[in-house]
Symmetry: D2
Subunit: 155 residues, 4 copies
């Protein structure tokens, strides 16, 4: 099926599937894609033993990783290869052992080659754990490039 | 030896040693502490195969992790438990497979319970790869708490 | 009327009135408070001739000033003197001569002495012009201190 | 004298002179350009009565304005029209009535159309008052465009 036949929603899902298949880092952290749509993505991750510090709180780096992945999936829903050029994060509350964290990424702006995305990380009680704001930059290539190349080489 | 006998430099080194011993995440990424001093830390990490994306560039998350660890070591050199309350990063250039990345963390401000640290990540050619600015917040406890508790329980 | 008799909404309005009366900078820029509520504030400002650059676009500093004022009013709605400890802004689109800009400030977090506020600046067409994220810090004193002192000195 | 005859230092000075001549906002705040060089600018401003709040501390907006102007002058030293796409500021200490504030802007990165600049604001005792990090974006046109147009129209 060619891209012309895909709806924007189908394209977003195809991009996410393609990215996730080769994103072993996110897979190893137990992340799951709950949903994607053009400019949006929702990812979840459970706080594991190996993510907590002495006091039983999740290390900030893993909360960042979840938000950063949600950002990456959201800004790559148009099949245009896009990378982060920078971001900021504010930690609001702790993620604790066993918590199910949900990162919701929403597009705030997309003009020319740059975009702005807001990601909110919440726990299973709906409490905000972190706020992340990412800036994206479109590079050359498509999101599904690798798969297409593989398909072509088989043809 | 009691804390009163330690110089600030010795205290900084003792804190770093204690933190690194239990920071399996940084260890697993192959990070090394090159030096620490009060309010300062220099860490290195080599970009491995499992850190690169399709094009051979290091995934931003690993560059962030290196800078974030340098930040954590620098703000915990006074044996006062300190966590990050937020940070921002700007990616300037790619880290590539095999690159030796060096993160240099310097204290810009430390007043009351809060601090500001600037971390610069460079490659082996001295080119800047990323700029990170972290905000720290002092919590209760000491950096070397766990070890001390362990020592006490043995006494 | 004592504070005990004021609802949170009345207290927020009293704080805003008191702050605005002595905020000549915001007054001189033609800012207006459209509404306040606990943790929230909406301010408007029209882009004047003296705010535009060569191309007829509003200088970023004035867009920042509007967002910064909305932030200040929102985090000072509890009659606890609060200042900004830092912030970031991303400019999304131009404000143009004659545009009516609206800054909407919303509280995202408020714990202990610190808070996080998101401010969105839009033009009269609802287009986003800038995103601002402010970090607040509670200091000693009340928002309405000056007025109360004045009233006491007259008594 | 054509641009080809100007050294980079002379070009930087010509750009700053041209920008400052039409930057009435910075002039009205009493800012002075102490020096410029390619990618660098140093500006000063004295904290006046109309810049202080109740406690005699300079309102953050004026500290921001000084840093923002230093940023603008530094990134416009190549005679390529450049605007800020975003920035962040951290307030470290108060600026007080009568203080002479100095903002030093330094280029950290300049690649393609984007750049990163670090601005440090200090008082007359060398104490750091604020840290500002700006992101620049090159647009069409030159810095000295207006003057050249004026000169042409007279020819």
């Amino acid at each position: 099926m060619s891209d012309r036949e895909l709806t924007p929603q189908q394209l977003a899902e195809a991009c996410a599937e393609s990215m996730f298949a080769r994103d072993t880092a996110s897979q190893n952290l137990g992340m799951r894609i709950e949903s994607v749509a053009p400019g949006r993505a929702v990812l979840t991750m459970t706080v594991r033993e190996d993510m907590v510090q002495g006091h039983g709180n999740c290390h900030g780096g893993f909360i960042f990783a979840l938000a950063d992945s949600a950002f990456a999936f959201a800004c790559n829903t148009y099949d245009e290869a896009t990378v982060g050029s920078g971001c900021s994060i504010d930690y609001l509350g702790p993620g604790q052992l066993g918590d199910l964290l949900t990162a919701t990424a929403e597009e705030r702006s997309r003009r020319g080659r740059t975009g702005i995305y807001d990601i909110t990380v919440r726990n299973q009680h709906g409490q905000e754990v972190a706020l992340f704001r990412g800036r994206s930059y479109k590079i050359r290539g498509t999101v599904r490039r690798l798969e297409e190349t593989a398909a072509e080489s088989q043809a």
